[in-house]
């Protein structure tokens, strides 16, 4: 589709966009800090000592999470679309979102009235997410074989079951409803360094491994016979790529909740731009994921709302997941109209 040079230019542009959004993201908040002061604070040479605290302690974790989560979801979606041979596949289809949320709901319902769950919740979500992914993989493998169509159908079924269980638990303990809402839609509000440390190992392992999987991904995009004839053991490759997609998505869900659309939009945008070669689609999907998530979180932060229940002037930012769904969906539709004739 595109030559090697125009692909390099595109990648550079996307990386530049991510960098600009990152700096803007650090500037935005109750107090606006202009980009030059943000950069100076990052470099440990602040013009105003409070810049250092605001940028590095309060805002940096959230911006880094925006980068990591966007990258992980974009890459996870791109891998999953290859394994499932379907451009509708997205990270939620690994079962990790519904698994993570069910775990969170059970945890909140079970501990309600006890001392606040504190920092334990993300760990619980992470465990639930990994269990959800393992469940989908286990339920769809038949005599050690993974078939793309059976994998999708199993994922949809497992997600439906886990979602229903979540609804049942929530109905039984409605007090937990409020806290779970932001996990259901996905948000980066109030994230701190601890959250970064939780997501970082998954990103540090999953992102390079996911990018290295491009060669196997390319062969999985051919028919089964051709892939095998070129020397790729199909079943282990499918399990490995699904596992990578699930691990990336689980890491993201554990800190941000079930953010939809990034993992669907980023790979489809990457394909529309760079063609079908996974060596281009995978890194581009990861980059576009970063850009989308940072941009959406910028909007989410600036469009704060005043919750009706609180009497004070206290305002909360919109959840980034909601912004993505509202603004991202039309963008995706435009892109698909242009790329698929």
């Amino acid at each position: 589709m595109t030559s090697a040079r125009s692909f390099a230019v595109l990648t550079l542009l996307a990386a530049l966009a991510a960098a600009v959004l990152f700096i803007l993201h650090l500037g935005l908040g109750t107090v606006w800090i202009p980009p030059d002061r943000v950069i100076l604070a990052l470099l440990d040479r602040p013009t105003d000592p409070t810049d250092l605290t605001i940028v590095r302690e309060l805002r940096l974790p959230r911006a880094i999470l925006g980068l990591l989560v966007g990258c992980m979801l974009g890459l996870s979606g791109a891998l999953l679309q290859v394994v499932m041979r379907n451009r509708l596949a997205e990270p939620g289809l690994t079962g990790v979102s519904t698994g993570g949320i069910l775990a969170a709901v059970l945890f909140l319902a079970g501990t309600w009235g006890l001392p606040p769950p504190g920092r334990l919740l993300p760990f619980v979500v992470l465990l639930g997410a990994l269990a959800g992914g393992a469940l989908v993989l286990f339920a769809s493998s038949f005599r050690g074989r993974i078939d793309p169509l059976r994998l999708i159908l199993t994922a949809v079924i497992v997600n439906a079951v886990l979602g229903s269980l979540t609804a049942i638990v929530m109905l039984r303990s409605q007090e937990a409803l409020g806290s779970i809402l932001s996990w259901l839609i996905g948000s980066l509000n109030g994230r701190v360094w601890d959250d970064v440390w939780l997501a970082l190992p998954w990103a540090a392992v999953g992102i390079p491994a996911g990018l290295l999987a491009a060669r196997a991904a390319n062969l999985l995009q051919l028919d089964d016979e051709s892939g095998r004839a070129l020397g790729l053991p199909l079943q282990p490759a499918r399990v490995a790529l699904f596992g990578l997609a699930a691990v990336l998505a689980a890491g993201a869900v554990s800190v941000s909740g079930a953010i939809a659309f990034v993992g669907l939009m980023a790979p489809n945008a990457a394909r529309a731009i760079a063609g079908a070669d996974a060596r281009r689609v995978l890194p581009l999907a990861a980059l576009i994921g970063c850009v989308l998530l940072l941009a959406a979180d910028l909007v989410a932060q600036s469009l704060s709302i005043k919750p009706p229940i609180s009497s004070s002037a206290y305002r909360v930012g919109l959840p980034v997941g909601a912004v993505l769904a509202v603004f991202g969906a039309p963008l995706l539709i435009i892109l698909l109209r242009r790329s698929i004739r």
Partner: protein, 265 residues
């Protein structure tokens, strides 16, 4: 191509699930020749090719690749020695000819998938040999059926294997493109010394292009030899159940058997 002991099947039985398709088959390829495998639908032609590349495990008997049991090879090791072009290959929409052909280097590249000088050369020469240099940056789905088939042959060539197995390479192509693909395969066989096996439905093609015709029926080899010796009126009647006449190709002087069927005469 370096010297390499061609594939040999010894007493090979293979099948799918409960159904056995090949029944104690013996076949030894000859290096640098074109072998056509013909036979009625469901006779096991494609299965012979699949067994040769270990795409289907054998139930009994042994497949020898370069003199060794094929089960002792890794998947990529087999792919370095044998290229297979399946019956209906498919690629994702938008994949360009060059991107497809580069996949042929998978058995040769390491973790990072760098083509290297040797790989780049193999890809370029595969594109040149198949006449696709001008189409290299075009997506496969924008090409004609014949050009697309040539691209898949180029992928198999870039693999650098000395044995090429083709499963019905001319099906779905119009008559000009059928000859184009067959001429290409013949020239590869002579210029690169490749050992070629083709499953063919068209017996006239088999007679015109193959050095040797192997007739498979119900999982067994029922005839094997030079086209003129194998494709007889008698065989056409017993194996395919059609009437036929023997003709001589005035161009090549080769004898061939033309099925004429029963109706309309």
């Amino acid at each position: 191509m370096n010297d390499f002991e061609p594939i040999r099947l010894a007493q090979v039985s293979a099948g799918y699930g409960q159904r056995m398709v090949l029944d104690g088959l013996d076949l030894e390829l000859k290096q640098g020749t074109i072998t056509a495998i013909v036979g009625p639908n469901g006779s096991g032609k494609s299965t012979v090719i699949r067994a040769m590349a270990r795409l289907l495990p054998t139930r009994s008997g042994v497949v020898l690749l370069d003199g060794q049991d094929i089960r002792s090879f890794g998947s990529r090791g087999i792919a370095r020695l044998v290229s297979v072009l399946p019956q209906s290959p498919s690629s994702p929409p938008g994949l360009t000819v060059r991107e497809l052909v580069e996949l042929g280097r998978f058995p040769h590249t390491g973790l990072f998938g760098r083509l290297g000088a040797e790989g780049t050369l193999a890809v370029e020469s595969a594109l040149t040999l198949t006449g696709l240099t001008d189409f290299a940056e075009r997506p496969l789905d924008e090409l004609s059926g014949g050009e697309r088939q040539r691209a898949w042959v180029a992928l198999a060539l870039a693999q650098g294997a000395s044995t090429l197995l083709l499963d019905e390479p001319t099906t779905f192509l119009d008559v000009r493109h059928q000859f184009e693909v067959l001429d290409l395969v013949t020239s590869l066989c002579t210029s690169r010394g490749m050992t070629v096996v083709m499953v063919l439905h068209d017996l006239v093609h088999a007679a015109n292009y193959a050095d040797r015709v192997v007739v498979v029926d119900s999982g067994r080899i029922v005839a094997d030899g030079a086209p003129s010796a194998v494709l007889t009126v008698e065989l056409m009647r017993t194996v395919f159940g059609v009437a036929a006449k023997i003709f001589t190709n005035p161009e090549s002087g080769r004898m061939f058997c033309l099925p004429i069927g029963t109706g309309r005469s």
